[in-house]
């Protein structure tokens, strides 16, 4: 029983670390309707930004340095999203606005990003924190302070996303675009602005994910793609179009992946995320909270 609880606690970290990024992916996909693959580059950038923030300032510890690093990282990836949208995606939309075209452009951004990161930071892992962080012992179960901080951060991100989407006018318009882009166009919503907003917010949400992952594992190349996979799977399992659904699904997948270690070798963890995705595609393609797909084929 202790083992189960311990694995669940470990799972909370994975799940809640990915959670903000998954919400960002769902937000961007909902508003713009294409697979923003370069979200992986955003995550990679977030991890490296957190690394850089610890180089300049104080080594990573929980407490006020965390907030400074979080602020730098989140602002940095938000700006990255703004640049991507204004310099590449928006101009390209006028050339070829199809979902396939946009996705291939994002493949291009991803490839450029990988190369730039490799040239700038090398191919080796870089340490982010110097010493072990505190761990609380609750009845024999180790609860790392980092896990608590991650859960708290993800909770705040969720709350902010909820306020933005359901308590502001911009959020109302974002949801309108996500539910029915044609109608939103007809009633004259300024789609370009909303797309930019979704990309900036969606990218900024990667900030907390990047900081949590960097604190836990340091910064290394190739960290973006597995995170993106979890985020994309969470978006589908939560139901495409549902930002908070993605959040619930991300937390769930993290816990399930870790509980599975009771029976499975760790090398099958990716397989398990894949199996969850597969099960949903076969049994409930619209996910937990998604609308029924209108384009389901015969």
């Amino acid at each position: 029983m202790k083992l189960v609880l311990q694995l669940a606690v470990n799972g909370l970290f994975t799940g809640f670390a990915v959670l903000p990024m998954a919400m960002g992916f769902a937000l961007i996909h909902g508003t713009q309707r294409f697979i923003h693959f370069a979200h992986a580059s955003t995550a990679q950038l977030a991890v490296y930004l957190c690394y850089l923030a610890t180089l300049v300032g104080v080594p990573a510890t929980l407490g006020w340095p965390l907030f400074a690093q979080l602020a730098v990282t989140t602002a940095g990836v938000g700006v990255f999203g703004l640049v991507m949208q204004c310099a590449v995606y928006e101009p390209f939309r006028r050339v070829n606005g199809t979902a396939e075209g946009m996705m291939i452009v994002s493949f291009g951004i991803f490839t450029v990003g990988e190369a730039v990161f490799a040239l700038a930071f090398g191919r080796d892992g870089l340490p982010v924190r110097e010493s072990a962080l505190r761990t609380f012992d609750v009845g024999g179960i180790a609860i790392p302070a980092l896990t608590l901080a991650t859960v708290a951060l993800a909770g705040c991100a969720c709350l902010l996303a909820w306020v933005l989407l359901y308590r502001t006018r911009a959020g109302l318009m974002l949801r309108a675009v996500a539910t029915n882009p044609d109608l939103a166009e007809t009633i004259g919503l300024r789609q370009r602005r909303l797309r930019i907003l979704s990309m900036v917010v969606g990218s900024a949400l990667v900030g907390p994910t990047g900081v949590a992952i960097a604190y836990q594992q340091g910064a290394a190349p190739g960290m973006g793609e597995p995170l993106l996979l979890l985020a994309a799977v969470a978006a589908i399992v939560g139901g495409l179009g549902s930002v908070l659904g993605a959040a619930v699904a991300a937390a769930m997948i993290g816990v399930v992946q870790n509980l599975a270690l009771l029976r499975l070798d760790p090398r099958w963890q990716t397989a398990l995320a894949f199996a969850v995705l597969f099960a949903f595609l076969v049994c409930r393609p619209r996910g937990l909270f998604g609308e029924r797909q209108r384009e389901v084929q015969v």
Partner: protein, 301 residues
């Protein structure tokens, strides 16, 4: 001289990868980022069967093709009933899964240190071992694959594929079972990538997991787009460019440690710029997604 021949062999292998990827997304409109995964499945099946189980080379090649094709069908099956986005994510999942197993399933794959020494392929008593020999084998396979795809897309089967790429609902209304068609094409394409993997394993005789990652899959998509989608010659051009460019970079004196990254950087920039200035690719065939999103006749624009 041998070095140039081995670069050409790699180019031939990439031609196979590009043409079969083009069959999947250029001709049929299904976007997948798992091509390097199927490539890896082909290579590692041969590697494991010949090195660890001592199976004959030809038999293990056949098994590798079957497993790659089967993996393709299994992945494509459930997601193809849905919108294209689902296939992208599922294939992405398969790709990450394959990479993680290649790295972590040490007992089977030897993990990051790679698998060797894979014996040379024995074609009915003829051992293909010399560099010119493997080049000839790879070129023959590449030509056959290109010819096969070219014939296939001009056949009645190929017309159905183009029809369902351009208008799925209409194709279904004509009584075509589109999901079945798509699964068949996807499995065929995966098998083609498996063939490339088999050739790769037998030519280099040593395989390591970092040749079969998501970055490779994305590169394959990009080189097909650069060449021009739905064009066999375009894929040939893209593949040759992709293999020759790094050699040119090192020929002009760029240190080897930078060549790989610079190559990726150039490739990514080229595809972005190209999509802006010439959306149909170098060897023009069609613009991505163009037919589908154009208003049809009789429909208000």
């Amino acid at each position: 001289m041998d070095y140039i021949l081995s670069v050409l062999t790699t180019a031939a292998i990439y031609v196979i990868l590009a043409v079969t990827a083009n069959l999947i997304f250029g001709y049929t409109g299904m976007f997948s980022v798992a091509h390097a995964g199927f490539y890896g499945i082909g290579a590692y099946t041969v590697g494991i069967l010949t090195v660890k189980s001592g199976l004959s080379t030809l038999l293990s090649a056949v098994v590798a093709l079957l497993i790659a094709g089967l993996a393709g069908a299994v992945v494509a099956g459930p997601s193809l009933r849905l919108r294209g986005d689902y296939l992208v994510v599922t294939s992405f999942g398969l790709q990450v899964l394959v990479t993680s197993l290649l790295f972590n399933w040490q007992a089977l794959t030897n993990g990051p240190s790679g698998l060797g020494v894979i014996p040379a392929i024995n074609l009915f008593g003829l051992r293909v071992e010399s560099v010119p020999g493997t080049l000839a084998l790879a070129v023959v396979c590449a030509v056959l694959t290109c010819a096969g795809v070219a014939v296939l897309v001009r056949s009645p089967f190929g017309r159905v594929l183009r029809a369902l790429r351009d208008d799925e609902v209409m194709t279904a209304a004509l009584g075509k079972r589109i999901t079945r068609f798509k699964v068949q094409v996807f499995a065929l394409g995966a098998m083609g990538a498996g063939l490339a993997g088999v050739l790769y394993a037998f030519t280099t005789q040593y395989i390591a997991p970092d040749g079969f990652t998501i970055a490779q899959s994305i590169d394959i998509v990009i080189l097909v787009v650069i060449g021009g989608i739905a064009s066999v010659w375009g894929s040939v051009a893209g593949a040759v460019l992709y293999t020759v460019l790094p050699e040119l970079l090192s020929a002009i004196g760029i240190p080897n440690s930078l060549v790989g990254d610079l190559n990726e950087l150039l490739f990514g920039l080229v595809v972005i710029v190209l999509l802006f200035v010439r959306p149909a690719g170098v060897v023009t065939a069609r613009v991505i997604g163009a037919e589908r999103d154009r208003p049809r006749a009789g429909e208000p624009a």
